[in-house]
């Protein structure tokens, strides 16, 4: 069966090539996303969250530990604030940047535009209810009487350091 054996060898070679070319996982020390970072001095996340209107629609550079990553599409990464209980989300359109889950716990530097996501009263109730449920806390939706804004950064450049 020389022809059959030859076909098997070709098929084997194709499968090996495909496996090798698709199974590569990057273990680079520093992960770069988007453009090269400028040397703009970082703004403290706590300063941004204390007065977000001052930075709204402006380009800011932030740095901090990555404390959360979208596990499905890698389309967002949460950056811890220098103040307790605060974080700021880097949010990209699906596929623009894909943040890996193993970035969690590593330091990130990101430059991008700060923008606000305005939630209606009902959306705010659902959002806060979900947070309370996750924290195992009681929550009364009636305490929410107006909507809120969530601030995020749309990054153009991100470095995740080792």
């Amino acid at each position: 069966m020389p022809i059959l054996n030859k076909n098997k060898r070709v098929l084997g070679a194709l499968l090996t090539f495909a496996s090798l070319s698709m199974s590569g996982v990057s273990h680079a020390e520093t992960l770069h996303f988007g453009e090269a970072l400028t040397h703009q001095p970082p703004v403290a996340v706590s300063a941004i969250l204390a007065s977000p209107e001052a930075y709204l629609d402006k380009t800011v550079t932030i740095e901090g530990t990555v404390v959360g990553v979208c596990s499905m599409r890698g389309c967002w990464a949460d950056i811890a604030s220098d103040a307790r209980f605060q974080k700021l989300r880097l949010k990209v359109q699906d596929g623009d940047m894909v943040f890996p889950m193993h970035a969690k716990g590593r330091k990130a530097i990101a430059t991008g535009k700060l923008y606000a996501v305005h939630l209606s009263q009902a959306q705010t109730q659902r959002y806060l209810a979900a947070l309370a449920k996750r924290n195992g806390e009681d929550f009364d939706p009636k305490t929410v009487t107006e909507g809120m804004a969530i601030y995020q950064v749309e990054p153009v450049a991100v470095d995740i350091l080792d």
Binding site: V67, V69, M72, M101, R134
Partner: protein, 182 residues
């Protein structure tokens, strides 16, 4: 020129060319269809443990307690208080321990990148950008050709244009139409 033979030849050769493209989109399509049930990019293993910790414990004490609770011998990369009752510990390889003081429970999550599937998904979702979209468009056009040319592959009673097999074409048309209109 024998159009029937030409169509069969083109269908065969384009079919060969499209085999790997089809596998890429089909396998990743299955993964993405079930994205709510199975994380397509990572295998996430979870373990839970009851804890007995209070807010009075220092971060270092909490870290040592949590590592011991899950019998882990690894270094701590970072930690983060998400809320007064929720604490996260980041370990090597992106593994995490999340402590909920209100529930007195900790969850350890170990993540392992899945092989191959994420790469296929990136192609399916056009996340690689660059020139992939050109090949993706060419493949889509070739698929249209394969679908239409299949109608003229066989002559006679088993032709797609005969009632004996044409009902399969009608069924395949009716299913998406039903979902579009119902």
């Amino acid at each position: 020129m024998n159009w029937f033979r030409l169509n069969r030849t083109l269908h065969r050769d384009i079919g060969y060319f499209c085999i790997s493209f089809t596998l890429v989109f089909a396998v990743s399509g299955l993964a993405l269809n079930h994205v709510r049930d199975i994380n397509p990019n990572y295998i996430v293993e979870r373990a839970e443990a009851e804890v007995s910790l209070t807010l009075q414990a220092s971060d270092a004490e909490i870290n040592a307690y949590l590592l011991n609770a899950f019998n882990l011998d690894t270094s701590v990369k970072a930690s983060y208080w998400e809320s007064p009752s929720r604490y996260k510990l980041f370990l090597e390889q992106g593994h995490t321990i999340t402590l909920n003081l209100n529930m007195q429970r900790a969850v350890y999550e170990a993540i392992t990148p899945r092989p191959i599937i994420p790469a296929l998904n990136r192609l399916h979702l056009n996340e690689v950008r660059q020139k992939w979209v050109v090949f993706s468009d060419v493949y889509a056009v070739l698929l249209i050709y394969l679908a239409v040319s299949a109608l003229f592959m066989v002559k006679g009673k088993y032709s797609a244009l005969s009632w004996r097999r044409g009902w399969l074409v009608l069924l395949g048309t009716a299913i998406p139409l039903a979902y579009m209109w119902l």
